[in-house]
Amino acid sequence: MSRIITRRRLLTTGAAVAGTTLLAGCDRLAEALPTRPLLDFGQMLTYRAHRLLLAGQPLVREYAPEDISPDFPTNGTAMPSGLGYFDLITSNFANWRLQVDGLVQNKLSLSLDEIQQLPARTQITQHSCDEGWTAIGKWTGVPLPHLLQMAELQPEARFIVFHCLDEMTAGDFYYESIDLFDAFHPQTILAYGMNDAAIPIRHGAPLRLRVERQVGYKNAKFVTRVEAVDRLNPFGLGKGGYWPDRGYQWYAGL
């Protein structure tokens, strides 16, 4: 299921044709007026208020095994294209490595085996898509704070960028970023296990981010590189993530 970007799908005889540019009067008005600064102000208000509200770093609710939902929808990339990823699958990710670099004292390059030897955290949590659906899954992975402590952040580091293996459009790979407040939350993990098995390809094998206090698209799949940075504008279109570059909120705690 891919995100709905076009406003309406035109129903024709049998087939749905995408790309209608019809806009309601209100949307035309909203586009004609300089509403963007106002909307950005709203985003800033939410971000600041949540940072205050969450200052105590509470954990999100963790569920019991019987609460796990029977299925878990696949969103975004179901299977990265390209021979590179195909080779990784056929070798069962033997040649895959996670790079941890950027503003760190010790650059890391870890195999899946090495990551699985690190301290692990298992959590049964609710995944909430900004589209409105939710599913509950069990995730096992290495806490991101542990990895970052191993790598030792330099003092200038402010954000963690997650580079992914799935190419969305030619040259545009999925990426996401979070600030250190979320990066050092105990439930922020890089998961290699889902529901007591290896994480399936459609859910981001071999490694995906779980950032439990934000909505679905922040939870980047197919993570291959973790980079500590001081600013987000050098990446993609400069908004800190594939979907944020396309108008979606960078901070998506609601």
């Binding site: 995100r3 709905i4 970007i5 076009t6 406003r7 309406r8 799908r9 035109l10 129903l11 005889t13 049998g14 749905a16 209608t20 019809l22 806009l23 309601a24 009067g25 209100c26 949307d27 909203a30 586009e31 106002l38 909307l39 102000f41 709203g42 985003q43 208000l45 939410t46 949540h50 509200l53 969450l54 509470p58 954990l59 999100v60 609710r61 569920y63 609460d67 939902s69 878990f72 929808p73 609710q126 909430s128 898509c129 900004d130 589209e131 409105g132 659906w133 939710t134 599913a135 509950i136 439990e212 206090r213 934000q214 909505v215 979907w243 396309r246 108008g247 909120q249 705690g253 609601l254």
Partner: protein, 293 residues
């Protein structure tokens, strides 16, 4: 007032200044804070509803419990599809096990050139050209609603507005009074004179329910959809029975609010729209003389 009525009234010795013909009384009905917050609230709720419908349209299914996604039984859904047998698009709305066709209104609507469009709620009712913009508008307006509502609540509490204007008087709470008020509403009969200086009891109870139950429920169920907010207030899950239940309750509460607004507007139209609109804009409200019958 007919002359004979006046004679009858004076004969009984009950004639008062208020009962004199053409005697109008002008009162100051709404304070500045009430008037301002009322209109700001209308703007917020309108844009919240429109952007909310657009967010709903992205996933027009409602569930009960903690999880919900395509394939999980719905409690409410709107869908559109092309029906090969009828050779036309068909919009379907489903409530529980009961479904009915809503082509043209919900599920399938028609564009300005008569072309069929898929989408749960029609385009004219929504705000935000895509989900990102709809969410931006929804959350900005939610902030404005909360700030405006907080100002109103503080004012209402400390100015005596709640106690004076909204709390029903002990006389109004008698069963007999409530029954007669319902009867008056059914006859579309509106109070005049002294009785028109305060809200009638049905009005007071409705306003109290909207201000202290419905609007807080919309806000709380909306916050239950936030993974960040629920990490701080996990009891919200227990209050609403899960994130998906909260989403469903949010939708139902928004519909109830819309119903309230429709009734509110009809009541205004029936009770002297000009006078009431003026009172909510300038504060001045004209009390019509009492009927002496």
């Amino acid at each position: 007032m007919a002359l004979s009525e006046q004679h009858a009234a004076s004969a009984q010795g009950t004639i008062s200044t208020q009962a004199l013909p053409a005697k109008r009384e002008i009162i100051h009905r709404h304070s500045l804070v009430v008037r301002l917050t009322h209109w700001i609230n209308l703007l917020c709720l309108t844009l919240l509803l429109m952007s909310g419908l657009q967010i709903f349209n992205v996933h027009p299914q409602l569930y009960w419990g903690h999880y919900g996604y395509p394939g999980v039984p719905t409690v409410f859904s709107i869908s559109g599809r092309y029906d090969p047998e009828l050779a036309r698009p068909v919009g379907t709305t489903r409530i529980g096990d009961y479904s009915f066709e809503t082509t043209g209104v919900l599920g399938v609507t028609y564009g300005s050139e008569g072309q069929p469009l898929s989408g749960a709620f029609p385009e004219w009712a929504t705000l935000g050209a895509d989900l990102a913009l709809a969410r931006d508008w929804h959350f900005l307006m939610a902030w404005m609603f909360v700030i405006n509502g907080t100002i109103y609540l503080l004012f209402g509490l400390f100015s005596g507005h709640f106690r004076r204007d909204l709390a029903p008087g002990s006389d109004q709470l008698r069963a007999r009074h409530i029954a007669s008020d319902i009867w008056n509403h059914l006859r579309l009969r509106r109070p005049r004179g002294e009785a028109a200086k305060r809200y009638n009891v049905l009005q007071k109870l409705t306003y109290l329910a909207v201000i202290f139950v419905l609007l807080p429920a919309i806000l709380a169920s909306g916050l239950t959809m936030s993974p960040a907010v629920t990490s701080v207030f996990p009891f919200l899950f227990d209050l609403f029975g899960g994130r998906q239940s909260a989403r469903t309750i949010h939708f139902i509460a928004a519909n109830l609010l819309l119903l309230f607004v429709l009734v509110h507007v009809v009541e205004v139209l029936l009770s002297g729209a000009f006078n009431l609109m003026r009172s909510m804009i300038t504060g001045r409200y004209v009390i019509k003389p009492e009927r002496t019958s």
